[in-house]
């Protein structure tokens, strides 16, 4: 290679990586703003400027009225919806990958459709259902929960299915060769191997549920979830504590995902080494 082409090759080789990293950095800009604003002096009425560094927001996270109760509702719904969607979705994933039944392609379509429907349409139709069946006065916690389980299901199925199809069936066959019956094989071999997928699906379901606004807003009645609280305050004055919550959510999620990604690998390396 001549002296000119070598550096040019290096540049074109790394160019894509550089562009990719730039895009990645771009996705973090609003996060940086959120973190920064969580330290913003709340005395600033115009929330477009950074007025002064303060730890006040972090020291008094529940100061804005109604925020922490909305947060509590969101967490409760999130946990319950995650439980429901993960259980139902995992069962479905096992059925799709491991068992035979009629109407498989229809089932796949029904599972795929919620992921491809705009949220406003899903929210509208659920609201139409509740109103049409006479529950318009009972909109609240349970209607929100029902909606959340509904749209989280598809994502859980897809995630667990992906993990399950990648599973080497020879491991289970080996277990059965060693005289394990079907129950033992499932609990000692299959389940531990699928578990990371189930955990990932649960995490995904929780963040989808916690973060949902459009469907929730239409079916919430008088109940207020955290995204609804943020929306309401965006019309008036945005308390900086919202950025405290945002930053905390980000940090917790990153920690969990990093632990899940890099934790087991270390254990595996130790076992192999």
């Amino acid at each position: 290679m001549s002296a000119i082409t070598r550096p040019r090759r290096w540049l074109s080789d790394k160019l894509i990586l550089l562009i990719g990293l730039l895009v990645l950095a771009y996705t973090f800009v609003p996060i940086a703003v959120v973190v920064l604003m969580s330290f913003n002096n709340p005395a600033a009425r115009l929330t477009y400027q950074f007025d002064g560094f303060t730890l006040h927001n972090w020291a008094n996270p529940c100061e804005p009225e109604g925020m922490c109760s909305a947060l509590k509702v969101s967490i409760e719904i999130g946990l319950l919806a995650t439980l429901g969607a993960t259980i139902l979705g995992t069962l479905m994933a096992f059925a799709l990958v491991r068992h035979r039944f009629a109407g498989r392609s229809t089932t796949n379509l029904v599972i795929f459709l919620p992921m491809a429907t705009p949220e406003i349409v899903m929210g509208s139709s659920l609201l139409a259902l509740f109103v049409g069946t006479g529950f318009s006065g009972d909109l609240g916690f349970w209607t929100i929960l029902i909606a959340h389980i509904m749209f989280c299901l598809s994502f859980v199925v897809v995630t667990v299915k992906a993990r399950l199809t990648g599973l080497d069936s020879r491991l289970e066959q080996a277990a059965m060769d060693l005289y394990a019956n079907e129950w033992q094989t499932f609990w000692r071999v299959t389940f531990p191997l699928v578990f990371p997928g189930i955990l990932g699906a649960a995490l995904l379901a929780f963040s989808l549920s916690f973060d949902d606004f459009i469907v929730t807003n239409l079916n919430a009645g008088n109940e207020v979830t955290f995204p609804m609280f943020v929306w309401g305050s965006a019309q008036r004055e945005i308390p900086m504590q919202i950025n405290v919550v945002g930053t905390s959510m980000f940090l917790i999620a990153v920690l969990i995902v990093l632990a899940a990604t890099f934790g087991p690998r270390r254990r595996g390396a130790r076992a192999a080494g």
């Binding site: 790394k14 894509i16 996060i31 799709l96 459709l113 429907t117």
Partner: protein
């Protein structure tokens, strides 16, 4: 008996009665596992569509509290479209633009992770998803700050004379599309990455062996092979983007409203459930038509 027949008999012994029963039980396990979730989806996803159609045919003169009369008001559809065709068009334009930008930004990122990241692959994937664990609304509000009139971005653009001295970014369609692009980027990157990762590297090497330059190799081998990911990514981005109203509300003016804003208003303050339902169905129908044409043209059938 020939050796083949003996071998066949040895391989598959006659099933005993116990095995027969187990097989019969096993045949139903699939149904037992699939029914609960399927039922949930049927009741809370499929049936509501029927309710939506029914609601769209109510007499809009009623309210939620006094109840609606079913009068088969097909005119709800015509009024909905004639009064709101502008937000409809805007939704498809904004959604389309956001999808294109997501593709332009997301493809290099997905390519970089799939081909150039090496052992940092998992970390980069985590970094792609990480920002989106913060609340969608909070992130969009951040964009209000970033694009604010006296903020860093606008100031820089004014200094570079890209924006006039009175120019603004916030409360313009530009801000709305920026917000949409940002919020739906992972929906583009992840399917693209999944598709790119599955490409057999030997095919790309083969192109190089046959004297293709890197760019030609990309255009003739990588790009076509990544089409399933492109189709999935564009669909998963465009569909929610077209129906979104949060970005339009927080980052745009009332004249930038998308169809989602209108539907939301009809349901909320307007209490006009039938018209809102009719609009939702129109939106869904338009999207379905577009998707069918698009997928058929793109020629891929396996999206999941």
């Amino acid at each position: 008996m020939s050796t083949l027949q003996v071998a066949e008999e040895l391989e598959e012994p006659e099933p005993t009665e116990l095995e027969d029963e187990r097989k019969r039980g096993r045949r139903y396990t699939g149904y037992v596992l699939i029914i609960p979730g399927l039922l949930w989806l049927a009741v809370f996803f499929l049936i509501p569509f029927y309710s939506l159609v029914a609601t769209s045919l109510y007499d809009p003169a009623g309210t939620v509290f006094s109840g609606y009369e079913m009068t088969w008001e097909w005119s709800n559809y015509t009024t909905a479209i004639t009064e709101n065709w502008q937000p409809l068009v805007r939704s498809f334009v904004f959604g389309g633009l956001a999808t294109i930008f997501c593709l332009l930004l997301g493809y290099p990122l997905a390519y970089a992770i799939a081909f150039k990241a090496g052992r940092w692959k998992n970390l980069m994937l985590v970094l792609v998803i990480a920002p989106f664990f913060t609340s969608f609304l909070i992130r969009t509000i951040s964009w209000q700050l970033i694009l604010a009139d006296n903020g860093f971005v606008v100031d820089t653009l004014q200094t570079l004379h890209i924006l006039g001295p009175d120019g603004r970014l916030l409360n313009t369609p530009i801000a709305v599309v920026t917000g949409l692009t940002y919020n739906f980027l992972p929906f583009m990157v992840l399917p693209l990455y999944a598709s790119l990762e599955r490409i057999d590297h030997r095919l790309i090497e083969a192109a190089g062996d046959l004297y293709a330059s890197p760019i030609r190799g990309f255009a003739k081998v990588t790009l076509p092979l990544s089409m399933p990911g492109v189709v999935a990514g564009t669909l998963l981005t465009f569909i929610p983007a077209a129906g979104d109203f949060i970005n339009a509300e927080l980052l745009g003016r009332p004249s930038d409203s998308m169809i989602g804003n209108v539907i939301q208003q009809y349901f909320g303050g307007g209490n006009n459930y039938p018209d809102a339902a009719a609009l939702s169905i129109v939106l869904m129908a338009l999207i379905l038509v577009m998707v069918i044409f698009y997928v058929r043209r793109a020629g891929t059938e396996d999206l999941v």
